[in-house]
Homo-oligomer: 502 residues x 2
Amino acid sequence: MELNTALEKLQSLQSKLSAYNHATSLIYLDGATYAPKGTASNRAKTLSVLSEESYMLSTSEETIEMLEYLDENKEKLSEKDKRIVFLALKDIKEMKKIPVEEYVAYQQLVVESEDAWHTAKENNDFESFRPYLEKVFEYQKRFAKYCAPEKHPYNYCLNNYEDGLTMEKCDAFFETLRTHLVPLIKKIANREQLSDKCLKGSFDDASQERFSIELMKIIGIDLNKCALATTEHPFTISLGSHHDVRITTNYDKENFASSMYSVIHEGGHALYDMNSDDDYAYTFLDGGVSMGIHESQSRFYENLLGRSRGFVEYVFPKLKECFPWQMKDYTSEDIYKAVNLVTPSLIRTEADEVTYCLHVMVRYELEKRIMSDELEVKDLPSEWNRLYKEYLGVDVPNDSEGVLQDSHWSGGGIGYFPSYALGSAYGAQILAKMKTSINVDECLKNGDFSTINEWNKNNIWKYGCLYKPGELLEKVLEADFDPMYYIEYLEEKYTKLYNIEE
Amino acid sequence: MELNTALEKLQSLQSKLSAYNHATSLIYLDGATYAPKGTASNRAKTLSVLSEESYMLSTSEETIEMLEYLDENKEKLSEKDKRIVFLALKDIKEMKKIPVEEYVAYQQLVVESEDAWHTAKENNDFESFRPYLEKVFEYQKRFAKYCAPEKHPYNYCLNNYEDGLTMEKCDAFFETLRTHLVPLIKKIANREQLSDKCLKGSFDDASQERFSIELMKIIGIDLNKCALATTEHPFTISLGSHHDVRITTNYDKENFASSMYSVIHEGGHALYDMNSDDDYAYTFLDGGVSMGIHESQSRFYENLLGRSRGFVEYVFPKLKECFPWQMKDYTSEDIYKAVNLVTPSLIRTEADEVTYCLHVMVRYELEKRIMSDELEVKDLPSEWNRLYKEYLGVDVPNDSEGVLQDSHWSGGGIGYFPSYALGSAYGAQILAKMKTSINVDECLKNGDFSTINEWNKNNIWKYGCLYKPGELLEKVLEADFDPMYYIEYLEEKYTKLYNIEE
């Protein structure tokens, strides 16, 4: 084979897989937003065909021969192509270990499982969802055995979202968080509580949508390449390349902050995806490198920036424009305090920064035990409720607000949750680094996101998947990852907010 | 080859092509509804890959060998499989005559061309759209030469929408219409004009959407399998099978009837598509057989049913619920008269039943002349305006309301327009036939669409593409097609409405 021929074939493979990706992502987005209720099996049928086609294409002899040839000649490749070949070979070799029928059946399962989850959440009926969730976990265990028999099955899951992550690392990380955050939460609980009255009232969808679009503009999202839709559980998705990205939100008619912070969170994901180097479009390097790094960006915008005093001050006039009578008695300081109210609660996506990681730990603990065969899916609701009581001190009134609250497991996202906590901690250290060259507080006060985004683009976003997550993090931080940045950020911010004496 | 093996291969081919269809249709729908403005080239890239994949799959030696084997053994096949093989061979042999590069480039062109049309229509800028439209016509001429060198190129176009249709038939049909309708229009013009004041006012999108959903329910659309979206130019599209169909509309804030009749029109298309025999899902027999028959259904619901006195009476209370203060001074009789006001106008989709076909004739004339090399695209706007003056007596104030008003040409729909007029005429004869066994007026007055839909399902819808359009029509009518049914329907209805003395 000629090197050029092989590179052309690689290009064509990437174009085709990007197109399949566009199609399957759009079908997923449609299912979660606009599709009529009774159409899941129609989508499942199409997705099983498309996933089989892309499996066959990826694992064909011709593809593997081409990739292995390029791998053998990697010293002749550019840094970009070298990384592409590495990623492709890794993914495809793993995919090939899964029998095609199981691969396809699993794609079909998750569509039906997500549909079942929607209905189950609506009806507070875990039992109707249980058979699907059992199958999802069974498949994950089987896939772990096929793909990484040498690893603990849960480490296989973790690695799907953060290359190199292990239970040991997670345990240590969560232990550090727990050691510092539990005392902080106790101290806060002993102080006078902040009020979130100003977030509550009556907020129609149209005004919330208008406010969402304002927020997208403020944080610097190009609306020519990104649109907003509504769904049950907010997410971000790229369609084929970083040239078309969609975010979703869910309007709480009684609390505008719920959607506000979903939009900023998903907006952070979108900014990361949309700002890959343009040369990476339609290649395996396009978009964010791992869920840990992804969440470092989404939770960076949501919390480190979005819940700062400067940002809330800047946004407040827009908020008053969209909700004039609801805001008439409040100041930006009221909003700032309200969106930083710390209180153990039921719903992860609406949790404050301090208790947030405890929500993640519940999920981590449960996933780990199921993947270790120490817990059965049927016992998930009772264990969920027990851990919420133990970690957060709250009683879970029903499964819809308990074990059914998140969409991740229904879609096969086992091992995803730790990324949220890790990402939050990465983000705090990234912020500290950013502050050595940018006056972030000043930018926020002035709504100057172009300076902040420029820094993120040059240091993180543009690289797409060129580096491993760990490498990228080291490159941007110029130091090892240290969760104490996150803890110190939380301690400093909330000690002030709650007037806690050291 | 074994017969069973061949039939399995046929099944697999149909599943795959249905899946590609789902993907490409959804990408089209997304582009026309929710997608951000700057993403057309991203969609074009994906569509070019998917269309190449489906071209290669359809025209592969293996596929053709299988189809030819089945064709040689057709006496052993069921009626259904026989028709599937016939349709597949016909389409694929034709497709294979087009070089793959041109086939793919054309798919990409139409995405970009539709995007250019949107912008051109918005900006009243035909010149920016002209190069795209020129290319669309060039491709159509080239495809006609490849696929049907023995035919006039415009007959090739007509046949893409109505098997067996020719310019000769169209000319005769339109001449009949002209002979009878032009005198009717003149008589109406001499009578006192009806008022459409009651349709006009201020109608917010949310209330119009609520009313649209009511209309979909009334005409019997299963909302579990069909959803509504908004777009520039309303259309209906099936996603992979008749189990998921979408209709679109466009809300005129100053006239609720515009969207009302779009919804009923597209609803007619949707009913037809959604009621194919369930056995036909994921086969080439799924959905409507031709655009002529399709328009016979859409325009049947829109006009023959939707603009009847009985229907308007039945719908009026719902209309008042959705628009209470706008309707407070009006009666259902006011609405009935207003939606049947006859007046030569600019916009086809909003034209009354009597002048409608003149709008179609303008387009027919222009397409025919371009495909005959007797007119150039650059001269379309001036010729459009000249014919509107000649046929309808109206002055076209700008291209947005003139030659740019319809989306069809931008998407390659050359030869489509005659279907609207033909379908309208088919519909009138179908109605006459239906009335021999059903009391249609009584059904309309009672909002009983199940009886009407049942008749349509048993006589038309369930057959999908099992019969040729001409055969199906003959089967349902038990007579030859005769445009006089349509003319007599119009003469009777409008003579009464306008108190014209015979």
